[in-house]
Symmetry: C2
Subunit: 331 residues, 2 copies
């Protein structure tokens, strides 16, 4: 298929072309390959914000208010809602997104849901490609929202420059609900619904938790090499009211501070490297699996190994090693 | 670590050794490699039954009754409960299993739950290894139970020789709840709770559905090659009452028939091949990913590619292709 027409329209800022191209990369690995290859040079301008929080923390209203602020500054926003647990919870999230869409003009705000439909090459890969499409489409800020259930978010947030985690007063176990892995990659904690009692208690709880946390992303080995001394970012904590917009000026300032920190400290270049590495690993996993599957179903030597395995004289782990040798990959 | 002591005990039929070894293979890929290599020659005697059904179809009672029948025939049974959606639903399933354990002697029936804890190498790989451990342990029949939510079951059932799917009268949407992929690999449909009204209607619904189904596993290309003419198995349908044991004689006969069919038609040898192939593919995926990750984080040439990618002159898909070339795997 020829995607060049869609790509021209995308670069002109056509939202329908963006939507179609995201569908293509979601459903077809070969399409993704071709599309990303064509648009890659036009990417790299968007700032990527990761936002998560347990159910009930008011993510939709928070994102709507934040988006409105950015739109008022003349910015173009992309919102990608990623639900790794779908189809189980896909319905509810989708309804939220439809309501959100009604608040904005299609020209300023592009909203898209992505669910785990067992995509070839994984949801993380498809999300990465959607980010690139919205980047080339001209978004200044791309918000990646997830539902906060664990390892999948951590993978998806690998490309987020600033990660914001939402909590609410009183919910009590929302801190526990957000898995350890998420905590460690959070740059800004936001206590939403600050009009409710217990807001300051929740802020204190987060402060306490931060004292006990074992590591923060800039302390991991990926960030340690060149910039160890200057990589000091202490996760910020703030409280907001998403319904009234209270304290959003402060929040926008904190996001801006974190962005400046990344640039001035040089951390941003490590970020970009890590992002490219993890994307390439995802793509390689898919490609190598395809190769191995093809080989296993057609090679004569492997037929002989399988016969041996059936006779119990060769186990699958040893067979895997023999195939790695066959491929010349022992080292 | 040296597993030889546990393995000797396993081969003597020590249930604690079986439990420990399953924990080892679950948590550690290298342990799995070593353990499976040592026990592989003692496997191949167990018959593997896959059982699934939507929540509410009475899987626990059904499996208890079926297990009791086999125990009365002097057979040793292994039950592996696989929950791909865990930790979300792990608790409920676990409670069921504890109740089930109380009904049986540890010497005749070994029960184990396995959940998706993001294991290295995947849940399907860990389940495969647990099957082998219970096979070497001396189980005559190994029951793999899953919760029936989709693609994960299909992967897990790749090693099951006979797949049984449970339904109940009246539930209405249980047929829809069981995903298309599961339907196609089902050998025997069981309408449980046959004392409830609507049992015959449910049987008729399944019959109707079978008429419309597009394909059945023996019609897939994996089974077509040698045995196309004789691979005729029409999925059976029966109704049972798991509480009273009504119709279990018939069910046991159907399972026995299917087993004979597999052996007499020669399909069984295709099964074994496919099982070994898919196991080896899972293992290779893990090993190749490890290799690629190591390479990407250390190779100098790749550092240069990453610099190019940062400058937007090389996209991750093209970079993946260059790495495949570097590995000598273009073809």
């Amino acid at each position: 298929m020829d995607y060049s027409n869609f790509i021209s329209l995308l670069l002109e800022g056509n939202p329908r072309a963006a939507a179609r191209l995201i569908t293509f990369v979601e459903n077809n690995f070969e399409a993704a390959e071709e599309i990303i290859n064509s648009i890659y040079e036009y990417t790299g301008n968007a700032y990527i914000l990761g936002i998560t929080g347990a159910p009930g923390t008011g993510k939709s209203t928070f994102i709507s208010t934040l988006t409105k602020r950015y739109v008022d500054q003349g910015k173009k926003i992309g919102i990608i809602c990623v639900d790794p647990t779908s189809p189980l919870t896909g319905g509810a999230l989708l309804g939220d997104r439809i309501r959100m869409k009604q608040n904005f003009s299609l020209n300023n705000v592009f909203i898209r849901s992505m669910a785990n439909r067992g995509q070839l090459g994984g949801l993380a890969r498809a999300t990465e490609d959607a980010i690139k499409i919205l980047d080339a489409y001209g978004c200044d800020i791309i918000i990646i929202e997830t539902v906060g259930v664990g390892q999948s978010e951590v993978d998806i947030f690998k490309s987020a420059e600033t990660v914001v985690v939402l909590l609410v007063p009183g919910l009590g176990d929302d801190i526990q609900a957000i898995k350890a892995g998420i905590m460690e990659i959070t740059d800004i904690f936001v206590v939403n619904k600050m009009d409710l009692p217990g807001t300051d208690k929740k802020v204190a709880e987060i402060e306490q938790m931060l004292e006990f946390r074992k590591s923060y992303k800039y302390e991991s080995k990926d960030f340690k090499d060149k910039f160890a001394k200057i990589n000091q970012w202490t996760p910020e904590i703030t409280k907001v009211n998403s319904k009234t917009g209270e304290n959003f000026d402060k929040l926008l300032g904190l996001i801006e501070n974190h962005k400046s920190f990344l640039e001035e400290s040089g951390v941003i270049s490590n970020y970009m490297k890590n992002r490219i590495k993890s994307e390439t690993i995802e793509i390689l996993k898919y490609k190598l699996t395809k190769k191995v599957e093809k080989l296993i179903h057609s090679d004569e030597k492997i037929e002989q190994y399988i016969e041996k395995a059936i006779k119990k004289s060769l186990d699958p782990y040893s067979m895997a090693d023999l195939i790695i040798k066959m491929l010349g990959l022992e080292k």
